[in-house]
């Protein structure tokens, strides 16, 4: 049984790694403090709120834990130690995550001590099925490996566009992959889930855009693998990323989770764009995140066919009218009650309509949305630079692209299914991000998502010169994660264990 107040207090501090600094003596504390115990009463009210969320630390001392406490049993073996920030002004305990270590491995501590580490937002430990899910950012990865440190610096906007659009984005996938018959799929580490991916993706989008998180007035999180049936991922994202004006422990932001199978996030692109354009909304930026620990029954079970394609990860897009990198020129959405894929409440894995998932489900809707949008803008396939379609498997997006008359070079760079698998709500957004990573200014991109149940959203984007300017702000782009030398491959048994989580 969870204690709600304790959970709230621990995650409030621990998720963001909130800290305080005394204005007079400079002493720092890993907690929110009203006064400095060094300076006493006179420092009351003279403490700055700081946090370590975007910082990098140094692993000062470490040891190996292979007989963890009960709640960490599923992590089995890990490196644990003391991490210092700001030249030792703050020291916190922490564990290294994203490492599969056998308890019989000899770990060379001397090689780890002194290395730089980055805090990661993760599940804290195992709890009962009906308990609150504890989270924490006292989990770290080595800064010179899969996930390097990236600074978050706020940019002062210098240009306002007439048409709203994407001002920044971030894609997060895990370090682990499973490779089967030429297809690589991202596998979450055991302490990851859709909520941790959503936060990490949002963090990367803030870093890339340079948007002041206080100016983000709304966040949408689309997912079909929220570990809670009731309790939004978006509220966690809003609190951890400090979206909207911060007032005490409450954020001045609207946050909502959306669900429509794989188009839960892409559907909200137009809502976010509209919101930032509405003159009375007072909202400068809106964030849309699609993140999933894509579910599938194990191979050999009913519905287990999906287990060949499902991946893990998320993408976050920030929409606004300032310093836009890709304008949203228009969209077309269509919907029908086609039940090609579903998951009943309380069931762990989805079912699907097998032979009907292609036709009439996927192809009919994607075709409809794409054609209608092109018709509306009087465009031929050859007028577009890139076409991005939802990628439930490697075949569907290729088939629809060819059918609609797109050439290989227009869609191949968007195909990320072979690198990360189908990340459900994150899938077409990841494809779009991969294209934005390489596109040039004044290029036109058509992205068509698909959500079972069923519907499709097609968007027409036009890139701006700022796309190239902002590119250097993002080290951790799609290619970086797809071709990272620190990727670790796991076998099917390990994959299922990791996917099941803490």
């Amino acid at each position: 049984m969870s204690s709600e107040p304790i959970e709230r207090r621990v995650s409030y501090l621990g998720d963001r790694l909130r800290a305080s600094r005394c204005q007079s003596c400079g002493k720092e504390y890993f907690e929110v403090r009203d006064y400095c115990s060094n300076c006493g009463r006179k420092s009351f009210g003279k403490m700055d709120d700081i946090d370590l969320f975007y910082d990098k630390g140094k692993l000062e001392l470490c040891t190996f834990i292979n007989e963890p406490t009960n709640k960490f049993m599923k992590l089995s073996s890990f490196v644990y130690g003391i991490i210092s920030f700001h030249d030792g002004k703050i020291r916190v305990p922490g564990r290294l995550t994203d490492q599969l270590i056998n308890d019989s491995d000899d770990v060379d501590f001397s090689g780890l001590e002194g290395r730089e580490v980055v805090p990661r937002f993760r599940r804290r430990y195992s709890v009962g099925k009906s308990d609150l899910i504890p989270t924490i950012s006292l989990a770290f990865t080595l800064a010179d490996e899969y996930y390097p440190h990236q600074e978050y610096s706020v940019l002062t906007p210098n240009k306002e566009y007439d048409i709203p659009g994407v001002v920044g984005y971030g894609v997060y996938t895990s370090r682990f992959r499973i490779k089967e018959s030429g297809l690589e799929r991202a596998v979450p580490f055991i302490d990851e889930d859709s909520a941790t991916a959503a936060v990490e993706a949002g963090k990367l989008a803030l870093i890339h855009s340079g948007v002041d998180s206080r100016l983000v007035g709304k966040v949408y999180v689309g997912s079909e693998s929220n570990p809670y049936a009731v309790k939004p991922i978006a509220s966690k994202v809003a609190q951890v990323l400090k979206l909207g004006e911060e007032d005490g422990d409450i954020q001045g932001v609207d946050a909502v989770d959306t669900e429509f199978a794989c188009k839960a996030a892409s559907s909200m692109f137009k809502d976010a764009s509209s919101l930032v354009s509405y003159p009375r909304s007072g909202i400068k930026y809106a964030m849309v995140i699609g993140a999933d620990n894509a579910q599938a029954a194990p191979k050999g079970c009913l519905g287990g066919e999906l287990d060949t394609f499902v991946g893990y990860g998320g993408a976050a897009f920030i929409f606004g009218k300032h310093d836009v990198i890709a304008e949203v020129e228009g969209w077309y959405s269509c919907t029908s009650d086609t039940p090609d894929f579903w998951r009943r409440d309380g069931e762990p894995f989805p079912m699907h309509g097998g032979r009907f998932t292609g036709d009439p489900a996927y192809f009919k809707h994607v075709r409809k949305a794409t054609c209608k949008l092109m018709e509306r803008f009087n465009l031929k396939a050859s007028d577009l630079n890139y076409f991005v379609a939802h990628q439930p498997n490697p075949q569907f997006p290729v088939r629809i692209a060819k059918e609609l008359g797109f050439r290989d070079e227009q869609y191949l760079s968007s195909l990320q299914i072979k690198k990360f698998g189908n990340t459900y709500s994150g899938c077409s957004p990841v494809g779009l991000a991969a294209v934005l990573d390489i596109a040039e200014p004044e290029e036109r991109i058509l992205v068509a998502s698909y959500g079972s149940g069923a519907g499709s959203d097609a968007y027409l984007l036009r890139t701006t010169s700022q796309l190239v300017d902002k590119r250097k702000r993002q080290k951790v782009n799609v290619k970086f994660q797809a071709e990272n030398p620190f990727i670790e491959y796991v076998d099917y048994t390990t994959y299922r264990r990791l996917k099941l989580g803490l």
């Binding site: 040891t63 007989e67 406490t69 890990f78 644990y80 003391i82 916190v92």
Partner: protein, 401 residues
Amino acid sequence: MQNRPAIVAVGRTKFGEHYGKEPEKLIEEAWLAASNECNVERKDLEACYMSDCFLPITNKLGLEEGFLSELTELHVPMEVTRSFSAALLTACHAIQAGVYNKVLVGGIEKMTDRWDKIRDDLMLLEDPWSYYAGGTPEANHELMLRAYIKKYNIAGENLDKLNIALAHVSVKNHANATKNKYAQFQRKITVDQVLNARKAAHKSLGLYDFAPISDGASALILTSEAVAKKLVANPVYVLGCASATDYLNYSAREDLSRFVAAEIAMKNASQMANTASSDLQVIEVNDQSTVMELVSLEDLGFCERGTVWKNIYESCQNNKNFYEINGRQLFVNTDGGLKADGNPLGATGGAQVFEIYRQLKGEAGERQVNVGNGSPKSGCLLEFEGFGTKAYVSILGEKKD
């Protein structure tokens, strides 16, 4: 100082696993043993100070004072602290203030009743943020060892010697416990066993570097100086007692290679007792791990910082049961320490007092330490709550005035 509190009797149970006994049975056994030793009746007691670290968690038992009242059929004031030394300190203050003349100090713990969850409980109580980050009760000891090694630049051959010295701490404690009928582990171990356990664990410290979890109880009767003189021929006085505190979160502390609280408590207790560390001949330290015994000897001022491992290494080459430090013989954990005697948290300090008391009175049997031509004149004990979060030092001995 006027009115030194005096210990007139001590008692304890065997430490280990008491599967069939309720916690109250254990404290009853310890108290009866103490009471028989000096002929103090229950009705003579004016107050009771009892310690248990976490009976409310292990045995879902709150208001421990209630069962103690039932047991003794007393309605006198009773207070519960978390460690035996804390109970003793409080009792000493009451005696010195002249509030009481005869009190019972007891300690009890029943850890094996919750063996399956005990490491989670211990860690969460000891250092919550370390627990949330994945820490185990053993991890902080290993980190402290790393901090010590790095601070004093110990490498190569010296590092091997340090590791062997740590193993010797455990070997010595196990050897001492073979002469202690109350000890949890009454068998000798070898340096190779300690080293192999580390190897098997793939860690710097292994099974034989850590104290076990234990059940057990201990008790003593504390009186004013005047009452003590009437009761026994040569009471053992509490010459000095002090405590100090440190942060809960180990990683936030200034110096990770030592326990500041132990150093401060020792300084204050020595001042109160008007003794120097060179006067102390038998020492009980809180060896929750071999690292703790090593570091504590430096914290208590018996040895220069960063050097104690050399002394231990040299001393143990001949398998002597004492450490030779700066030309002095230092007898440490003659009962086997927490490592071999056992570590039932709330009762542990009572066993430490028990040992010093027996040594000073010349009643330690096979374990008896002889200094010059008699038993030692004074000794001290260090007890911790948590991982150095609280430190208690008590100096026991003859009254010098």
